[in-house]
Symmetry: C2
Subunit: 411 residues, 2 copies
């Protein structure tokens, strides 16, 4: 993805450059990485910041996820620090896993003078393995002394597991007022025995009350992160954090309505859409990003479920890989989704070429359309002809690369 | 699959050998097949037979499916003939498609002296293309004159599209009374632009009232055909037919309860389980059959949804291909299913080797277990520890072969 599209200004457009926060990334050596890299990342707010989080719906939730939910509640949506470790997910680790995470939180809180419930933790990596506590504690100390001393993009790189590239996004919410927002995420990386965990971190210097922050996330997540599917799996660790330092002089956003809130949500949507699109494009083995846009549904929820079902279909995704304009597979996935579908009202086009209208196939030049599919981004547009609701799901094609990455196992 | 396991007696154990029915298979040349083959199959009952059918839940249903539902209702569950064509699915073909199917039905009914609503039709193949009516009509005439003249297995072979092998099953329901049951099916074959349609045909000479026949199907389908998943897709044409000629002298089964009915259901279950297992084992690119058995659920429905979610997970299926004993991916799929899951009560074993118990991983010899996974059949057993309900889902591994078959597209 071309990150310049997001208005990224060199050197002033990473998480590292959001006023009110300092970041650090260090090498704690949690795993025997193929090449030396940072694997512990830290964000510390100079003063207590508003905080909100959205977490996996998987009933098997990792220790850090359970702790974060508690802390956000106990603190009333306030955080001073966010610690991220790559290499060990701390999932399926029982009481010991929870205690280890709390020890790390206690240590970090002590170093920066923050109560436990204002410290959040995120982990990604191998599951069933305990956090290497000694390395974590040494790493925390090192990271705290390294705050503000790294370079832009350090945080985004330190959180990766098997992603091919770091994923960042930046937006100016209010140029005059100097209100900015920056995000970094990881996801879609999966090699045995790691989890395909999605972690996203968004910082802003806007002043937003905790409840309004949570409301903004709720508005934006359903049409961005929740509409990305690489292979349909949701990990034990998926987490999205949004922190607002409130250092700007622009008016504070106290409620989840009104023009100020609306503009904030727009900016958050832009950043989250960019991050989630990068996740889909970087899907394992992916050769192209696929946008599945469903329009004309009765309700948004139906448009979303139709788009997701099509985007998750292995038959549709392999057709995308094979540059096969196979409307039949799309119709099949659509028909089995939970959205109301009337075959005779469905229309479909791919890469701008109409393939199907009012329930019957249209003649089209297959060779030409197949050629158009050989692109980095492909859009499949399906109109249900039943209403006005729309939704877009993002995915990638299903390729030999995916099989190789996920079935390559050596004892 | 070793068909001898099903008690197949050479020459007397195919659909062709069920008393009260005659079968035929001929070459109508609906498509330019790679090698010459039969592609029109026919079953005719000497006298009106009890009939029941279960069809796809896909909201986009092919013309034959819509007609069959109507006919089974209009006839009160009675049929004289079942026509099957391979090569053209007659789906997304509008009014013309429906009219063509009815013309074929009218012609066949005329040839054998049966009213339209006692004639059923099933199609599999390319979608969006009209039935080649002239070839169908010629083929119907040819098939009618060929009734009873072919060899055992002809029908099972004529219905295939891209399956690697014919799939048949046979059971003796009552040796003394000479009550038998035979089934044939096709499924899991998919090359662009065909549908992965599942068609199954079961014949018996038992005397069963239509309502009891339908009830027997309803009892058996949820734990057999509905628990098979190759890639989660349900086609526009999936159909399962059960016909009972009633030529035996054993007592008729008039109601859906009691010992006679129970024994009938057991026999039907045996045949349907065998057929659906063969479909899973013959999944595209499959190198092994995978059984996902979930026990200890609160309700059967939850056990089934947990088993299916795990069986549909691309991450679990690629791990199976890679002989990777990856319990983490299984737990992840389980946790996102709609079944109630308490992580701390979950236990798991693979190929008989315990991997996970009461919420925590167990030490096991990975190399040894990986070796055990190199088999034609692999069983994954997950106990939820919440109740007594169970379910088994059948699938196959996800391999490079699947990608090749489904992404190989030449204009």
């Amino acid at each position: 993805m071309n990150m310049e599209k997001n208005g990224k200004r060199e050197g002033a457009s990473s998480l590292e450059s959001v006023p009110g926060f300092r970041a650090a990334a260090i090498a704690a050596e949690f795993r025997d990485w193929p090449k030396p890299r940072n694997d512990l990342a830290l964000i510390v707010a100079d003063a207590p910041a508003s905080a909100a989080g959205v977490f996996t719906r998987n009933q098997v939730a990792a220790a850090p996820v359970k702790i974060d939910r508690k802390h956000l509640k106990a603190s009333g949506g306030v955080a001073r620090a966010l610690l991220v470790n790559a290499g060990v997910a701390n999932a399926c680790t029982g009481r010991e896993g929870r205690d280890n995470a709390l020890k790390c939180i206690r240590r970090l809180g002590g170093r920066i003078g923050a109560p436990d419930e204002q410290v959040l933790i995120a982990s990604t990596g191998v599951i069933g393995v305990q956090l290497p506590l000694a390395k974590m504690e040494k790493g925390i100390d090192k990271a705290v002394s390294g705050l503000g001393k790294g370079k832009p993009g350090d945080f985004a790189r330190a959180i990766l597991t098997t992603d091919l590239r770091p994923k960042e996004s930046f937006a100016v919410l209010d140029g005059e007022g100097g209100v900015v927002m920056a995000g970094a995420c990881k996801g879609s990386g999966m090699i045995a025995p790691n989890m395909a965990t999605m972690l996203a971190f968004v910082l802003t210097n806007a002043a937003v009350a905790p409840k309004a922050l949570a409301a903004a996330l709720d508005e934006v997540v359903p049409s961005t992160f929740n509409m990305v599917t690489v292979d349909g799996d949701t990990s034990t660790n998926d987490s999205l954090f949004l922190l607002a330092s409130g250092t700007t002089r622009t008016p504070a956003i106290g409620k989840s309505s009104g023009k100020l809130f609306g503009r904030f949500v727009d900016g958050l949507h832009q950043v989250c859409l960019s991050l989630s699109t990068q996740i889909a494009a970087d899907g394992e083995g992916a050769s192209k990003l696929v946008r599945v846009r469903v329009t004309g549904a009765r309700k948004r929820r139906e448009a979303a479920v139709a788009a997701r079902t099509i985007a998750e279909s292995p038959l549709v995704k392999t057709a995308m890989f094979g540059n096969d304009p196979n409307w039949g597979r799309v119709i099949c996935a659509l028909g089995r989704s939970d959205a109301a579908v009337d075959e005779e009202k469905v229309s479909m086009s791919l890469c701008g070429c109409a393939m199907f209208a009012k329930g019957a196939p249209l003649p089209f030049d297959k060779a030409e359309l197949s050629g158009l599919m050989r692109a980095e981004e492909v859009e499949l547009l399906i109109d249900l002809g039943l209403g006005k609701a729309e939704a877009v799901a993002l995915t990638c094609d299903l390729t030999h690369g995916y099989i190789t990455i996920n079935a390559d196992y050596t004892t």
